[in-house]
């Protein structure tokens, strides 16, 4: 409960924030650089004197948007592959599960870095620096995290497709697509929602990691990870600069993970003792 409130507060802050805190994210004031929290700058300033609160509100929008969008991609791909594997009775199911296992043993971060490295310039030319990177990061993070969802969906489908109500639908002449969409999928959604919730947190971490390694969004786009990356060379003189974005990532991730845990307790009948 507390984490839901916390997460809502965080979302509200990044959505409504810019209308209340009307400081530009890129006003440079070198004289006021590296100041700790004060009334004029509640979160302090960075080395160029840019207001950190404004930058974090802006970055939070991107970080949370990436998290949600990547989750949607991974849930979509995972559900599609899991459903196909769960419904097929032949070689397709085995092939898809082999693919899932293969993807599970891929080294995620190196591959993520390699994909970004290879496709960065092409997409940047097509959709502009921010849009291109956004699409790339969302697709790549989502595309490398669908495997748990696919496994869950397949397991659910394997048991659900033999249930009487599905058989009844089949006997009434429902097409396979209708059986899946109207009858099986709604019943398989519980674990998918839990996995999706946790995927949001994982995607936020993945995006911050990329930005932290200097390979995410362009330098003038202050995502939380990017602010942390810029701050890490000034730890001795401006620790506040690193603590606020790091804290924000931590709070978002912990809150989402706790919500996922709570949902599991609520939705999953199988409880530990």
């Amino acid at each position: 409960m507390i984490s839901a409130v916390l997460l809502l507060l965080l979302i509200a802050a990044v959505v409504i924030g810019p209308f209340i805190w009307r400081v530009s994210i890129s006003d440079i004031d070198v004289v006021a650089g590296l100041q700790g929290p004060s009334l004029a700058h509640p979160f302090g300033t960075d080395d160029l004197g840019q207001d950190l609160l404004a930058r974090m509100i802006y970055g939070g929008r991107i970080s949370l948007a990436v998290g949600l969008a990547a989750m949607l991609v991974s849930v979509f791909v995972g559900t599609l592959i899991g459903a196909l594997a769960g419904m097929s009775r032949g070689a397709l199911g085995y092939a898809l599960m082999w693919l899932t296992d293969l993807f599970l043993s891929l080294p995620q971060l190196p591959l993520l870095l390699m994909l970004i490295y290879l496709f960065r310039d092409g997409l940047k030319a097509m959709f502009g620096p921010e849009g291109g990177i956004f699409i790339l990061i969302v697709l790549v993070i989502g595309g490398l995290r669908w495997m748990p969802v696919a496994r869950l969906v397949r397991a659910q489908f394997l048991s659900l497709r033999e249930k009487e109500f599905v058989e009844a639908a089949r006997a009434l002449g429902a097409s396979p697509v209708r059986q899946v969409v109207r009858h099986i999928l709604p019943n398989a959604l519980g674990p998918v929602i839990i996995a999706g919730t946790i995927d949001v947190a994982a995607a936020i971490i993945a995006e911050s990691t990329l930005s932290f390694l200097g390979l995410g969004f362009p330098p003038d786009t202050p995502t939380w990870g990017r602010i942390l990356y810029d701050a890490k060379d000034f730890l001795d003189i401006g620790p506040h600069w690193a603590l606020f974005p790091g804290g924000a990532i931590f709070i978002a991730v912990v809150a989402i993970n706790f919500i996922g845990d709570g949902l599991r307790d609520a939705l999953d009948a199988r409880k530990v003792i």
């Binding site: 971060l109 390699m114 911050s208 390694l213």
Partner: protein, 318 residues
């Protein structure tokens, strides 16, 4: 048992091949051409360009190029780094031991924390200790490694000035040098180890809870065995079986964490090699390091499978 290991090996090789196909397809699909610089260079006549392209087989169909590449990789010819002007395999071999040392000791630390804490928490479910351990585990795996790394530097290097935050690898010998080596490895190993320990503790606890309620445990207790003996010899051995699989599944995340940690503490391992080659557009090194990471993941999965067969002998007869 040896037959089982052989069978596992036969599964590992196709998955390694699959990974190499994925990597190669990604590289082939990517926009950009290794000879794009030549194409814009007016000093290189088009005939020479065409001859070079033909020599390196760039106009061949993709499956031929893949076969070419994979045989070269298998022969140990991993290409040539554009930036540092040495063979890729020497570059990687130079840096691999550091990565393995850091990852290995952090895994050890994680096991040393996770097994006792998880086991103790499971023997007293919902006690104060259990709840504390759970909360800490939750916080532990929600804290991204790059943030814990920065926090550690802030506390132990900047504020307390106990530990160095830049990893140096000057060759040397003697006790003081050894102590220095250990001292500088403390923080990276702690960061990575605590992150791993957090999720492992949860695995160990839930696996123990699943086993501890089974009838054979009650039987062992009824025979009059002591609590310690029941837990260690009867419960733990069976509880470790799923834990091994879960740890193996975590390996990709471990190496991801290692890349980040190497970057923060400037450890000269293959993770920081990957990042610096990406920033320097050094494609052969990027490819090779990614492939090495894939090999390591597959290797650890194989080790986990072998351990699995040892822990649960029934599996090796299937």
């Amino acid at each position: 048992m040896s037959q089982y290991i052989l069978r596992r090996l036969m599964i590992a090789i196709p998955s390694l091949l699959g990974i190499s196909v994925v990597l190669f397809v990604v590289l082939a699909l990517a926009p950009g051409d290794p000879f794009s610089e030549l194409a814009t260079n007016p000093n290189v006549p088009p005939e020479v360009q065409a001859a070079l392209r033909a020599k390196f087989g760039l106009d061949d169909p993709i499956y031929l190029r893949y076969l070419h590449w994979i045989t070269a990789m298998a022969h140990g010819d991993w290409g040539f780094s554009f930036v540092s002007r040495v063979d890729v395999d020497t570059l990687i071999l130079q840096r691999l031991p550091t990565t393995l040392y850091v990852v290995g000791s952090s895994q050890l630390l994680a096991l040393l924390i996770a097994i006792p804490v998880g086991v103790y928490a499971a023997t007293r479910p919902y006690s104060l200790f259990d709840q504390l351990a759970n909360t800490f585990a939750f916080i532990g795996f929600s804290l991204p490694t790059f943030f814990t790394g920065i926090l550690f530097i802030l506390v132990f290097s900047v504020k307390l000035d106990w530990l160095p935050f830049v990893y140096t690898s000057v060759p040397g010998s003697g006790i003081p040098w050894l102590l220095e080596m250990i001292r500088q490895a403390i923080m990276p190993v702690m960061v990575l180890g605590l992150f791993q320990a957090a999720s492992m503790t949860r695995f160990v606890r839930s696996a123990m809870l699943d086993v501890i309620r089974l009838d054979y445990v009650t039987t062992a207790r009824a025979k009059g065995l002591g609590q310690a003996k029941v837990i260690v010899k009867h419960v733990m051995r069976n509880a470790m079986i799923p834990v091994v699989t879960l740890i193996a599944l975590q390996m990709p995340a471990v190496f991801g964490g290692a890349i980040v940690t190497e970057q923060i503490f400037r450890i000269p391992g293959i993770g920081s090699l990957l990042i610096s080659s990406i920033l320097a557009n050094d494609t052969p090194v990027v490819m090779a390091v990614t492939f090495v990471f894939a090999c390591l993941v597959v290797l650890f999965n194989l080790i986990a499978d072998v351990l699995y067969g040892w822990l649960d002998p029934r599996i090796s007869f299937r």
